[in-house]
Symmetry: C2
Subunit: 343 residues, 2 copies
DNA sequence: TGTTAGCACTCTATCAGTTCGAGTGCTAAG
DNA sequence: CTTAGCACTCGAACTGATAGAGTGCTAACA
């Protein structure tokens, strides 16, 4: 449908606009190296590209900017990935150099570095915590009516929840309970915990412990909602750096969406494998219609999966981000798998 | 120095500007109920107030706005506290109604509600975590080379840190270590933990455990920095709602300062008792010269102390915020003391 | 002597008109 | 098919001109 020359012009136009954030004119294009035609020829081609919907004008006598369709075509067909610059690699590797052992810490730091490197906002989704497996359960009494339940998982993640206990419960009963729980629940995945708790331990507890009912109920309650979410943001404020976002109202909406983790499912294509690009209105949320989101999944071991995303303006440096995310994804997969599986 | 009438005019001027965010003119003031003088008289008085530095003009023929000194005087002498509206009280009380047992959770929620109620940003500082007292220590092995250390404090706070252990360390040694640690360190405050660890347990550990050196070092390392901070923000984005902040650059600086907890000591007068108001340039940070910060301290039990702060534009609704903070402070003190001391 | 009506003056915000330049589309010649 | 040339369009930036809000001052009044 498009000639070689039109493809070239489209590519250079998008590249230039990504760089300058200004509508691109025919004269400007004619000056570029590799452009061996006159501005008039380019004008004709631009008109054709506009006719086919790849480019737009902001007003009748302005230069062209890429349309939604134009970006999409650019991303799908014109993107030649770049090797990641040495300098970026050095920075990214620094995450692992400090011998941090916690998955969470590593992901958090990666989010920070990614946002610094790109000047966009990064969102990192850790592995689904509910798949983690219980390694140890313990209950520590705090005061006569209160105790804290602690669950350690195989990934080193620690969940804890304060809950109330019958004030006159004696220590040996608590110890008994902990023993029973550990005996029965180690090796169970967190998302099964609630069910298994009931199936496996209720009868046993009833047998051994006075007042099991009250205790059991509040304990179960405490375990019900693992409210720790595993979303990490880097550089939320970078949005403010982008000249594309000058309207305070827009910024507000955008930050609102990102503030809480609530909209994650709408922002990120969860469960998708490999690299995904959502441009402008391809995003589910209206507040993000001027943004593009590039996501890539990464693996930990064989089953666990996480997601890395970069959110920026539609006029995003797709080439750079794509290569960067490719790199980070495989890097993170490698390092976390090593850590997770205990070498 | 100022006559009754001047005081009245100053007060009404500041009140009006706080409400409207527009320079206040003499005609406007003359229309207010309680103003029984003509605009000409008011003009004379305004000129006098300006002469004494309580008011300013944005340009020669504009209305007046309060100066730094004007706000200060208003806050110090003209503020008649309001009772907190019933409606606000209902909302605030809702924090405690859901029977949450964790100090942290309560503080976090309070931050959220305060920001919703005021449309400003709230910052809540929890009690100093380093004063909390160790209730239980435990170490859970994760994989051959890795373990997680868990510290539970009397407030129900749980600190955990993953650290590496010699891969061939046997389980009984770990158990021995945990026993020794618990025996010696329960009852120690977190800020003493590092020191006491060395003083009290090093010798004992050396005696009982092979390879204590390696183990001890990484364990100590893990406990070194309790990196959980106890700062909670509510409504960071509310800044964007205030018409006073239209300059994106200013907003950036401001959010930058608040993003990380690093600047807390400069933003809040830590250690100060009771209610404090910092207006505009009274703030330590240049980025906050257009903001006012109202803080109030609250107590938990007899020793612990926390801080509640509201950050808004200089043109802040001082009266409302002051009453609100007074209320919240005593409320939080009461409820947390009850919780903290186990009823 | 304090208050107020009246008026000239000042400054901003706004709007229309103008110019400049970047960019386009079209035509005609190469 | 390409390109030079040219008329045309539109936004951005500047210029007055005007209206309106507000001030300061003066003179009259209670």
């Amino acid at each position: 449908m498009l000639t070689e020359r039109q493809l070239l012009i489209l590519k250079v136009t998008v590249d230039d606009y990504i760089q300058s954030a200004q509508p691109v004119g025919s004269n400007q294009l004619a000056k570029k190296p590799g452009m061996s035609f006159s501005s008039a020829t380019i004008r004709n081609e631009l008109a054709e590209l506009e006719g086919q919907g790849y480019l737009e004008k902001t007003h009748t006598s302005s230069g062209r900017i890429p349309s939604q369709k134009g970006y999409r075509y650019y991303v799908d067909h014109l993107l030649t990935p770049n090797p990641v610059p040495e300098n970026d690699i050095v920075q990214l590797r620094s995450v692992f150099e400090e011998k941090v052992n916690e998955t969470e810490e590593i992901i958090k730091r990666s989010a920070g570095i990614l946002s610094e490197l790109t000047n966009y906002t990064s969102i990192l989704l850790g592995p689904d915590i509910r798949k983690h497996i219980v390694k140890k359960l313990s209950i520590v009494p705090l005061s006569p009516g209160m105790a804290v339940a602690i669950i350690v998982t195989d990934s080193g993640h620690v969940e804890n929840r304060v809950f109330s206990i019958p004030p006159d419960l004696n220590a040996s009963d608590i110890e008994k309970m902990v023993n029973i729980l550990n005996e029965r629940l180690i090796g169970v995945a967190l998302h099964d915990l609630h069910k298994r708790l009931e199936q496996e331990t209720l009868a046993l507890l009833r047998q051994h412990i006075e007042r099991y009912g009250e205790l059991f109920r509040t304990f179960q309650q405490a375990l019900l909602l693992p409210h720790t979410d595993n979303v990490y943001y880097g550089g939320k404020l970078n949005i403010l750096k982008q000249p594309d976002f000058h309207d305070i109202q827009k910024i507000r909406e955008l930050m609102d969406v990102m503030e809480e983790g609530k909209h994650i499912p709408e922002i990120l294509p969860i469960g998708a494998q490999g690299l995904q690009i959502r441009i402008g209105s391809e995003n589910a949320l209206a507040a993000m219609e001027d943004c593009s989101v590039i996501t890539v999944s990464y693996d930990i071991g064989d089953e666990q999966m996480g997601t890395i995303a970069i959110v920026g303006p539609k006029r995003m440096d797709y080439r750079r981000i794509v290569s960067l995310l490719d790199y980070v994804s495989s890097d993170l997969s490698k390092e976390l798998t090593r850590l997770f599986q205990g070498k």
